[in-house]
């Protein structure tokens, strides 16, 4: 089985799980590219940072599209783990994808209340 290029598009703050799902394919010898859209970043727990670093180690990449890559997600040397990509660059990259997975829910149009804000 050839390795497949699979993009996970994450538009909703509750769907950082797309990184884990991507990692699940990476360990099956596919190339995973989770893309966090418009700053809908998940909380960067140690678990999440480790998953992002692992996706990179498996020749994939985690991208931020539409927002600067956060300073709160860095490796041991302080380098950012998430790469920035423009919407147009993302579109061109998706043309080369074997599978495109809009993951979970669309972006919310309203702000979450304090009780659930990350």
């Amino acid at each position: 089985m050839e390795s497949l290029k699979v993009y996970f598009l994450i538009a909703n703050r509750m769907y950082g799980d797309g990184v884990r799902s991507g990692l699940g394919l990476a360990v099956e010898n596919h190339y995973a590219f989770p893309v966090i859209m418009n700053g809908a970043f998940p909380p960067f727990s140690t678990y999440m940072k480790d998953n992002i670093a692992w996706v990179k180690d498996m020749e994939g990449s985690v991208y931020s599209c539409g927002a600067p890559s956060p300073d709160t997600c860095v490796d041991e040397e302080g380098d950012k783990l998430i790469e920035e990509i423009s919407l147009e660059e993302l579109g061109e990259a998706l043309r080369d994808a074997d599978y495109i997975i809009p993951y979970g829910l669309p972006k919310q149009t309203n702000e979450p209340p304090l009780s659930c804000a990350a």
């Binding site: 538009a11 859209m37 919407l87 147009e88 579109g91 998706l94 599978y99 809009p102 979970g104």
Partner: protein, 57 residues
């Protein structure tokens, strides 16, 4: 390359931009799931006919 764009909700500008790039120089089709009674038989036929299906949020 035949690509099928499926919409579960009204596409926003980001989706429209990505779809425009993805469909460029390709045979493209679309299907709107955001209706009361989608024709699932037609959708399945379109998926079978396509080389790639993208089902947007």
């Amino acid at each position: 390359m035949k690509i099928l764009q499926v919409y579960r909700s009204e596409p926003n500008n980001d989706i429209k931009t990505l779809v425009g790039i993805l469909n460029r120089d390709r045979e493209a089709d679309e299907f709107n799931l955001n209706v009361e009674n989608p024709d699932y038989d037609m959708l399945v036929a379109k998926i079978i006919a396509a080389d790639q299906t993208v089902c947007w949020w």
